[in-house]
């Protein structure tokens, strides 16, 4: 099977940004699981309606790690409204394309990130 990752994807895989755990996050999510073969956990810090910090953990392939790395890099500093609109298509484009069977990694990263925002918003409602 041909699996030609772009240079940028490989770089994000080898040197992922924003990787690691975060203590007391404002928003948290887990998407996927080991049964599917990939999993991402997202952690958010929000200040004044903006993504102040975002981190992730990964059990997954090179593109699972790379897509989450690129996503977190891009959404940092965005308002919640902007971050919610960030699309998987943009992740793919920013990485210079993904092999077709790896597109789902970008979808999962975006969904997981949005889930963390949803968790943050839910907590906000409860604390009000």
């Amino acid at each position: 099977m041909a699996l030609n990752y772009s240079k940028k994807t490989i770089n994000h895989f080898l040197n992922p940004k924003n990787i690691g755990e975060m203590k007391n996050p404002d928003g948290y999510s887990q998407i996927g699981n080991m049964l599917c073969g990939d999993q991402l956990n997202f952690f958010l810090k929000v200040r004044n309606g903006k993504i102040k910090d975002v981190k992730f953990l990964s059990f997954g392939c090179a593109s699972n790690i790379a897509t989450a790395s690129l996503l977190t890099e891009k959404v940092k500093g965005m308002t919640i409204a902007e971050a919610k609109k960030y699309k998987w298509e943009t992740v793919v484009a920013e990485l210079g394309g993904l092999p077709s069977q790896k597109i789902h990694c970008s979808v999962m990263a975006v969904e997981g990130f949005r889930k963390a925002i949803a968790d943050y918003e839910k907590k906000q409602k409860h604390s009000r």
Binding site: M1, M34, N41, L57, F59, G60, C61, A62, K102
Partner: protein
């Protein structure tokens, strides 16, 4: 450093084999079906090659059919035997750990109305005679069980399985693509009726293989045309490939003892060190009934394709059965068949050792692997 530990996928052509092939591309390029002097010289070499291959495998020269590889040989045998004998019987048995070319050939037959049954491998990755006995009957025309599994390197008791097939009047086929030179194949003694080989798995060229077909077994050809190979496989004889495969097979058996000792020493050293220096490892499949060139290892809490890519970046070639590495996004059918729990199916790496590996390469791989596993585990959510 560059380290090739994917010898189960393919091997590097031995330079001595290349030297034997070269004249058939340059001076001795005649068509073995032609009756001019160049063609006749090629024909004589072809007949000689069949003799040499038959001698090494314990079979008859007339049974040796050269194909484009094991995929073609398996397709020819599975489909050809079933189709040519369907008036008699219509049941085929294959194991559930066969290579996709055997499985898909059988699936094609199932779609055409044949009855296809799968004999399961046990948790060690072995197809036992007892398991075969449970599903074989007098409707069975063909039993196909691989000699050595390509992913986990486990060795099946071919002679015992063939014996059962014969008790029920069925033919016995084995895909021996991964068995050279690890097993001493003896077609007659082992009771093998049909066998498949591929040149590039034992330091020979790609694009050439053998379908061994015992005399008297009816087979419908896949390729029709000029009637080469006794009408079983039309197409101009691939002399460079055939001569290369033949010589590679001879070398493999001539140097067998030293080769086995060498790859076993490298593999055992590698496993002993990584098992000591990296936590949470486990071997998939039997370690005793396994070829010495194969190691298939579980790495808990990290994903196989990521391990492979990280090692690949460091110059090391390995392979994985992880779903993320497959075109169909399905995890390895072999690891599934031997009962790995679903959450372990995507965390496995196959290291396959070979003739050209050195101890220095293994030491480099151990060091690189330790770093890779440490890095990937450092950010895994699975604890």
């Amino acid at each position: 450093m560059k380290v090739y530990l994917d010898n189960g996928a393919t091997t590097r052509l031995d330079p001595r084999v290349l030297a034997k092939m070269r004249p058939y591309l340059t001076e001795k390029y005649g068509n073995a079906s032609a009756i001019n002097y160049l063609g006749q010289a090629a024909y004589l070499d072809l007949m000689e090659a069949k003799k040499r291959v038959a001698k090494l495998l314990g079979g008859e020269p007339a049974g040796v059919i050269f194909t484009s590889g094991a995929t073609e040989a398996n397709n020819l045998i599975i489909k050809g035997v079933a189709l040519a004998n369907q008036a008699k019987r219509k049941k085929i048995i294959i194991s559930n750990i066969e290579h996709p070319c055997v499985r898909e050939s059988a699936n094609e037959l199932a779609r055409a109305g044949f009855q296809v049954e799968f004999v399961p491998a046990n948790s060690e990755g072995l197809v036992t005679p007892e398991a075969l006995r449970k599903i074989i009957d007098k409707e069975t025309i063909l039993v196909s069980v691989m000699a050595v599994n390509n992913e986990i390197g486990t060795i099946n008791d071919i002679a015992a399985l063939a014996k059962i097939a014969h008790q029920y009047g069925a033919y016995f086929h084995t895909d021996a693509a991964q068995a050279i030179p690890y097993l001493k194949i003896d077609i007659k003694k082992m009771g093998i009726d049909l066998l498949s080989l591929s040149g590039h798995k034992f330091y020979g060229p790609k694009g050439v293989g053998v379908a061994y077909i015992k005399k008297g077994i009816k087979v419908k050809p896949l390729m029709v045309g000029g009637g080469q190979e006794n009408n079983l496989r039309s197409g101009t004889y691939n002399l460079p490939g055939i001569m290369g495969l033949t010589f590679a097979l001879e070398l493999a058996y001539k140097e067998r003892a030293a080769y086995l000792k060498r790859v076993k020493a490298l593999r055992d050293y590698f496993w002993q060190r990584i098992n000591q220096e990296i936590s949470g490892l486990k071997i998939n499949g039997s370690m005793t009934k396994r070829i010495p060139a194969n190691l298939n290892v579980q790495f808990t809490s990290i994903e196989g394709e990521a391990i492979l890519m990280d090692l690949s970046h460091k110059g090391i070639c390995v392979s994985t059965g992880s779903a993320c590495s497959a075109a169909n996004l399905q995890a390895s059918h072999v690891l599934t068949a031997i009962g790995l729990s679903k959450n372990l199916l995507n965390s496995n790496i196959r290291f396959s050792f070979g003739r050209f590996n050195t101890k220095a390469e293994i030491n480099y791989t151990i060091k690189a692997l330790k770093e890779t596993v440490k890095r990937l585990r450092s950010f895994s959510p699975i604890k």
